[in-house]
Symmetry: D2
Subunit: 355 residues, 4 copies
Amino acid sequence: MAAGCRFFAGYPITPANEISEHLSERLPQLGGTFMQMEDELASIGAVMGASWAGRKAMTATSGPGFSLMQETIGWGYMTETPCVVVDVQRAGPGTGQATKSAQGDVMQARWGTHGDYAAVVLSPNSAQEMFDLTVRAFNLSERYRTPVVLLADETIAHVRERVRIPQSGTLEIVSRRHPDPGDTRFFGSDGVAPMPAVGEGFNVAVTASTHDEVGMRFTQGAPVHRRMIEALNKKIYSHTSDIVETERHNIDDCDVGIVSFGCTSRSVYEAAERAEEAGVRVGYVRLRTIWPFPEEAVSRLAEGAKRIIVPEMNLGQISGEVERIAGRRVVKVNKIGGGELITPEEILEAVKRAG
Amino acid sequence: MAAGCRFFAGYPITPANEISEHLSERLPQLGGTFMQMEDELASIGAVMGASWAGRKAMTATSGPGFSLMQETIGWGYMTETPCVVVDVQRAGPGTGQATKSAQGDVMQARWGTHGDYAAVVLSPNSAQEMFDLTVRAFNLSERYRTPVVLLADETIAHVRERVRIPQSGTLEIVSRRHPDPGDTRFFGSDGVAPMPAVGEGFNVAVTASTHDEVGMRFTQGAPVHRRMIEALNKKIYSHTSDIVETERHNIDDCDVGIVSFGCTSRSVYEAAERAEEAGVRVGYVRLRTIWPFPEEAVSRLAEGAKRIIVPEMNLGQISGEVERIAGRRVVKVNKIGGGELITPEEILEAVKRAG
Amino acid sequence: MAAGCRFFAGYPITPANEISEHLSERLPQLGGTFMQMEDELASIGAVMGASWAGRKAMTATSGPGFSLMQETIGWGYMTETPCVVVDVQRAGPGTGQATKSAQGDVMQARWGTHGDYAAVVLSPNSAQEMFDLTVRAFNLSERYRTPVVLLADETIAHVRERVRIPQSGTLEIVSRRHPDPGDTRFFGSDGVAPMPAVGEGFNVAVTASTHDEVGMRFTQGAPVHRRMIEALNKKIYSHTSDIVETERHNIDDCDVGIVSFGCTSRSVYEAAERAEEAGVRVGYVRLRTIWPFPEEAVSRLAEGAKRIIVPEMNLGQISGEVERIAGRRVVKVNKIGGGELITPEEILEAVKRAG
Amino acid sequence: MAAGCRFFAGYPITPANEISEHLSERLPQLGGTFMQMEDELASIGAVMGASWAGRKAMTATSGPGFSLMQETIGWGYMTETPCVVVDVQRAGPGTGQATKSAQGDVMQARWGTHGDYAAVVLSPNSAQEMFDLTVRAFNLSERYRTPVVLLADETIAHVRERVRIPQSGTLEIVSRRHPDPGDTRFFGSDGVAPMPAVGEGFNVAVTASTHDEVGMRFTQGAPVHRRMIEALNKKIYSHTSDIVETERHNIDDCDVGIVSFGCTSRSVYEAAERAEEAGVRVGYVRLRTIWPFPEEAVSRLAEGAKRIIVPEMNLGQISGEVERIAGRRVVKVNKIGGGELITPEEILEAVKRAG
């Protein structure tokens, strides 16, 4: 029994920043089916059941719930189950500060469950992107048959801003490929295998044990496991040009480079502007996709910039990945607690010290 | 992470006595979609998600898993979610004797989750009935929008007997009623409300909090709760003539009456025959439906019989309900441990003592 | 991640009606160790761990959490682990009405987990009894090495009344028996086996699989299971004179008998008084122990009374057990929803109709 | 209900490579208390309860169970609860290949739960180290009041080798500091705060919500959260010289450097020997502590070596951290599936290509 966990299914356009205790009262203005389960294990289980029943489904949670879901999320990677999991980051670990903004789950979103998988994680930095990237998260999850994480932070999830809802029919909506009559290979093939739904007449066994292309368990030898796990990873990593999105500014011509994501990036905008007014050439990469990590953009930024600054509302997480790609140490600007944002001034200060 | 828990969805005809660790390998000979989740919480969650996505779904487990599912099963009663839960009873409590037959969950199947609900519980006593009552369990769950428990025991679940699968098209298959365009009342109405599926275009909030007919939460006053919970119960108890099934023999004309269910009833057949050969007039009621309790049949049996015998593989459970209906004490024949069945001789012995 | 679940350990005198979201802030005025876990599974797990580590531990929850704990509570019965579980009943099933009083878990408290076990369930009807019966619940759990349920209702849990805390040293405090050096039999012996604590130097395997007196698993044959499960039950049922407590009034000399428990019994007091003023001889049994069911008191009441009335805030639960013992139908007074109590007038009305 | 999860408490010397389904039968030859819970949530909950009850406790699991425990492990970091979690890595994600060796959880062991915490993770590479590092894991967990992960792999957990058990009294055993009478500060102080046990007479509230030094919840402002979380991290990172252990060979004078851990390091030994016979100067760091990452040793290795090779039984995990420290790309030797080990020949081949 848990408060605060829900499971949405149906239209992929439920804006996650509208999620609240009382959403059920306001649902008629939204659309689709809203289910409030008893806890996060039930929610993520329901998502998996609904997805195999042929529907698009998502759930939204925060750190502790996201941690509790890790086993079932791993089940989703292994069974190639399309679904969207929204993690609205707050100050952790543990229950921490339940409604205070933070960015401390960014490495967990990549590595939270066990074994070798490829995570797709998107990071909105506005109410509009809560909408747009929720749609995009569904599209990617359907196209690549994989769980996709929408890694928001409390600030972005609760910000009140005008959101433009595109006219019906103008939105790109991707849906999973269904099998043709006679198809028997539903997993791990070259590209992305078609996915049957319950009741469509296909025989299918869905197991997170190692299985072959038709779903048969193979838990002994190496070849099947190797082939399937490599396929799981390859379907993501061979499509990074489709999956990875960044917002870039001056990345090839700057003295100071900044890498940021989520709410923190909004302070970067202002800091960059003011730094440039002060004569410092600033470039930045804003990670709209966090995982797979935007290596190309960040390494181009690192090539030109003398210093790299990584502001994030944690004690240093994505900075490690930037260091790995940059091949050198970065300047870390970290802040935690009470939902206090990193201010433009604090970033500007770091820019000046760095420059 | 648990071995031994699974979630089936799709065709309601998967025979539960075929459930085994290696079912996934043999699935192509069956039909439908088989999902092996990581544990019972994930399984029952997936069932609920699939059911609201518009499909028929079941899961099969044994005592400990059935206990772990109790919160989510309660969610299912409150949200009127059709689904089938198979509990193959084994010796408990706790892990007990994992593959040894027992009948110790019969009261739990009625009272295992909290609050006021009406349970529908069926009890097969042959491989054929594993098939027939699984179909029937789905039909009842769809007709009355409620979880239905198929309460098997290890003996019946593992017995190897010829099963007659009816020709396609001859089987009665009941499916839930879907709403008509414009419908907005999806819960607790007189009779059984129509149930929308995810993606059918209806706005619906599904919550196990007290809610009204359109799904709006009402957690304060008495009238909505009272009306909805009474509806939950009435939809079952006003249809006992449809739901309750018994096998009866001589119930109006006997000296000794026997009430039994599941594998134990097979010893009753033989004991009754031998008792009658020995001149004792024996009547019996075999509970094919256990809950709602077959009050009419048992009270007729109790009216005529001088003594009532209740054999069951536990320390005395359904005997209490028989006593309540009969208005007097019964002769209990109990046996637990090692999967040892109550023999015809043991029942015959009780008949002779009783007679 | 769940709000509202906690695990208390240490002194058995934490008054459960003081439990609230903000207890942690006020703890210094109480005593002992208060742990807030993430959900009910973690809480009941922590209770079991603390108990085997040699301490007294309890947890408090409401219906949905109580349902979620059922598997681990069964583990506690099978491993003979002393602990106290407080279930503060509210309107169910499901999340229901989260803070509205109810009495709908009374059968679940007896039958919520699978297999054959004997439940000890106490029912307070005042703030003083929240205190007294919490102490008593610990004493019984320690003496008989078994989980004990304190089945409160929201009314009693939240009522504000003067509570007399006995002077230190005047309270009877029972603690489990520890083994003597050389002891090796820690389970299921005649009477109640001694219980070693982690780190006391005894070798002990604790498993909810069927095990013998030294803790060795025996999952095949019947004799060990039979012997151990019968011991589990016998240690409770052979001590009903110690465990079962009732409040009785005129039970041997009345026209109308009333059986009640929890908050409802307080309306019975007044109804009885007023009925007697009106010349109806009323007797009553108030179940301070609900399970094992007070058969002796209720059957004496039933013997003399022409009519029996069972008021309870559910759709009829303990009334079934009264009928079983009485051997006849009773008058049920039921009320659910919104936390509305059964009033003295409603009971009086039933008395008049019955009389 | 899950097979394969257990909770050990008592002596910290239970060798984890003796863990097996049937350990309970053999326990008398070991020592301490062995508890088999129903699943990993119950196990890790029991560990936390036992630890606060004043005992040393551990649990052992594999990938899926480790994922399921992530929320409660985070509770342990936040509440500074000493305990040991053994994760015996097998091929994932999901259920994967249940008994096949792998090294795919190494990043999860660092980042599996949400928020900002410092993980201590040890990696044995022999049966002897299963023993030694289990003791060391307990010592570190008690000294720093933190969960410690013993990250084994299936190969090392199941290898049969002679283990030298030190004479009683010669082993260094560290136990947590208990408070003195009158102490009230039990969390997050400079250094490591004393930890009271249930029943010792201290009033203590244990919550994974942000709390101050006396355990009082503070979920609003920034300062308390910041101070406490920084203390959580500082108590580990300011003691890396005590916590971080590596095995080093020629790290300051080599052409090719190798970084490895667990079973893979045993192939490195032989590969290094043969490479040196062939005239290639090889240095290596074997990570006996994986987290905190041995930055000093690895950066010294990276400074001198022309090429760095990182063999690991996954698709590339710790190699990223090596790259971050080295400031350049490394040669990755990866192998997954079927439990097939990386052979000395495969490493030698990489050495030759690298050299």
